[in-house]
């Protein structure tokens, strides 16, 4: 099956009903996306499909063929961090860190749709589970990234896309 992952065409030999998560992790070695529950309840496996946050543990690959899939590996790099990743570092969000890829991908999808989310917007969009209880720093980091976005906006008078590579090579 042909997949488009982080702007690259990839071939998977997995059965069509295989959840995207396991193709990413075990076939393509993109291990940044995590397994947490397998029933779309925790969000550790969150990726973007055509810019929408989806839980890849219940998303069969047959449903994402020809779609643009983005994982944490494409959000930003240590050298060129996504504003959310920079905000995550500034707010010192992660503890164990296991759920944070999914948190960041959920937050990136939120900011793409709602560049300046209210607390209620964040409550509604961020349903990912974190056992270390990083929630209030997640909230603070999303607000911080949104404000960074405003500054960039003012400086460049350009509407930036918060999802790296979105609409680019992908």
């Amino acid at each position: 099956m042909q997949l488009n992952i982080n702007g690259q065409n990839r071939t998977s030999t997995a059965a069509p009903d295989t959840p995207l998560l396991w193709v990413l992790r075990d076939e393509l070695n993109l291990t940044g996306t995590k397994f947490g529950c397998g029933v779309a309840a925790c969000g550790a496996c969150t990726v973007h499909v055509n810019g929408q946050a989806v839980r890849s543990c219940v998303m069969p690959i047959s449903a994402v063929a020809q779609q643009k899939v983005q994982t944490i590996e494409s959000l930003g790099t240590p050298e060129q961090l996504h504003p959310l990743q920079a905000a995550w570092i500034a707010e010192q969000v992660p503890q164990c860190g296991y759920c944070q890829s999914g948190m960041l991908m959920a937050a990136a999808a939120l900011l793409d749709k709602t560049p300046h989310p209210s607390d209620a917007d964040i409550d509604a969009a961020m349903t990912n589970l974190c056992r270390c209880g990083t929630y209030q720093r997640v909230r603070a980091a999303i607000h911080r990234a949104a404000n960074t976005n405003t500054n960039t906006n003012t400086n460049t008078n350009n509407k930036p896309s918060l999802t790296a590579q979105k609409g680019g090579a992908a």
């Binding site: 997995a14 295989t18 959840p19 396991w22 193709v23 992790r25 075990d26 076939e27 070695n29 993109l30 291990t31 940044g32 996306t33 995590k34 397994f35 947490g36 529950c37 397998g38 029933v39 309840a41 925790c42 550790a44 994982t71 944490i72 590996e73 959000l75 930003g76 790099t77 240590p78 961090l81 990743q85 995550w88 570092i89 010192q92 969000v93 992660p94 503890q95 164990c96 860190g97 296991y98 759920c99 944070q100 890829s101 964040i122 409550d123 509604a124 961020m126 349903t127 990912n128 589970l129 974190c130 056992r131 270390c132 209880g133 990083t134 929630y135 209030q136 720093r137 997640v138 909230r139």
Partner: protein, 755 residues
Amino acid sequence: MKRRTWLLSALGATGALVVGWGVMPARSRLGSPELMLKTGGDVALNGWIKIAKDGSVVLAMPRSEMGQGVHTALAMLVAEELDVPMRSVRLEPAGADSIYGNVAMLMASLPFHPLDSEGEHKPLKIKMSEWIVGKIVRELGINATGGSSTITDLWEPLRLAAATARASLLQAAALSWQVPANEITVVNGVMQHASGKSAHYGDMSAAAAGSTPKGVKPKAQQNWQLIGRATPRSDIPAKVTGQAPFGMDIRLPGLLFAAVRMCPMLGGSFDAMNTQAALALPGVTQVVRLDAWGGGTAGLAAIGRTTWQARQAVQAVQVQWQAPKTGALDTAQIQAALLNSLNTESGFTFHEQGVPTQAEKAAAKRIDALYQAPYLAHATMEPMNCTAQVKDGRVEIWVPTQVPQMARAMAAKVAGVKEDQVTVHVTLLGGGFGRRLEVDFVGQAVQVAMACAGAPVQLSWSREEDTTHDFYRPMHLAKFQASLDAQGTVTSLRIKSAGDAITPRWLARTMPALSGPVDMPDKTTAEGLFDLPYGFASQHMSHVATQSGVPVGFWRSVGHSHNAFFSESFMDEMAAASQQDPLAFRLGWLKEAPRYAAVLKLAADKAGWGQALPAGHAQGLALHESFGSIVAQVAQVSVVNGEIKVHRVVCAIDCGTVVNPDTVAQQMESSVIYGLSAALFGQIDIVGGVVQQSNFPSYPMVTLSQAPKVETHIVPSTRHPAGVGEPAVPPLAPAVANALFVLTGKRQRALPLVV
């Protein structure tokens, strides 16, 4: 020689050995350079510190990073003493030598009342006990990350190791430059002298090697540049880019994946299985029988080319399960049995003062209450997993564990090799909370790897297996009886609790060599009840240790987690009975415990205790000491549409000297959420031997929208550093329950809380 003479001689010789060992100084934890990994160009100066050619510092890291920030905090201690920036400290895995053992964690198992050690001078009995236990555990050298003990344990040895390394580097520079060592200053890892000479550590490391200056002391507090300042965590950048490697992220050439299915009945096994359908699935190579390792449950594993294939296959196996020989477990029956134990057995007395029976006879009023707490699962976000390779008589494992030596011993036992044939790689842990003090899944991974003809295999559990095959926080019950005189003053407090002891079961399954023939009293059963700071004239606290057969384990803050709910809720009951405000009532009984009173006052002040609140809101407070730290919390709570909503939690903590205040705040926030999930939702039920909760929908967690705002206030202190990862869990449930009482007038005596 006559037998009697021989015996006497043998006893005499043993006695002399013991006395001889006793008078020898306790084993040094500085360690020799050979203990560190041999890497080209680096020079080891002791068992902890290596200097790289470029002058950067390599630290041997024995403790596991599971979110609590210890990799950063320990690097801070080294950076402080060596005067290098944090980015110049790299970590390498520590070996298995006893210098890396955790002395503080085992010392904390001594059941002394914390108030006895509050003053300047500890009583002799405590000093003697700590001395002898300290000596023994230094010999044992058990490396474990748990009990909120990392900084407490390594505060002195690691700063001393770094300071000694620094002194030998300065000595080498002084000799080379022919100047007095005390005239050399160090800035950012560069040694400088007024004569214009300058060199970084890498230039002097070869000359410094082999020297161990004596009489070195760590920096005085007034010279600290780093300790006590909020410092960014060094593990965070990799955790925001998806690059941080957890156990399940290990990828090796030719890696196979294994899925696990254990007997649904805890402790059960199986009679027969039909693997035909499973083996017909694509990519599936084998189905392997799993024995019950490390106190776990037997079952089977399927091996495939991906985790998904293996999981599909393991579910396709037709199995005839076998109930455990001891009978099926049932929480309702266990609860009834605990109540019976509580009513019929005397238990072990952990604390007694005054004459409670007299006070009870003379009482003008008595209040009685029965409290209970359910079984709980840990629910780490990263489920149990271990990657193993068994090849040419050697075993290699990659495992998120809190106990690398026990993992090694388990791997050796399963593979039938000596421990020195096992290499353990500790990965990052996607949560620990005590679950990863167990090594059941290590045994499974090695057993599967033995069937894989030398190929590496990653064994991981589904969320359902993880929830239904945990080592649970034990169910406990506690009976409280308070006596009050005619003026409403509390004259005595009697507490008796019942529930399984964890430590003897854990020792038997992870370190059988240290497991005794009979269970010793386990401090973890009574902590949070026998060690209260309140000065009631007469007190009696006992615990009846039971053996339910349920696999029980250490759950973040252990006995404190439920015992603080019992004791701090009952404190509010006593306050109400004596018609006092909960804050004033506690302060009245903390005259001999000023440090506790200060923490409580700080939390109350910052929370605005007693001031007007929004309509429908109420505050509750709780104070609790655990792992050497005192934490007070004030929770602001309302009930909306029959649901408990916690809006704000103000935490005050006295944890002694603080290394990284931002980590303290992180752990307060973390503990509040962890404690709140348990208080609102946490309950494991076992029916017919089968755990009824299986995944997050049936074992829910607090989410972001339900999370209260958490504020942290730290009491400045110069005492020895104490624990931070756990002490804020215990007070959360009683603080919320006490607020609910104000709101509803109904006293909650069982967890989870229900309105």
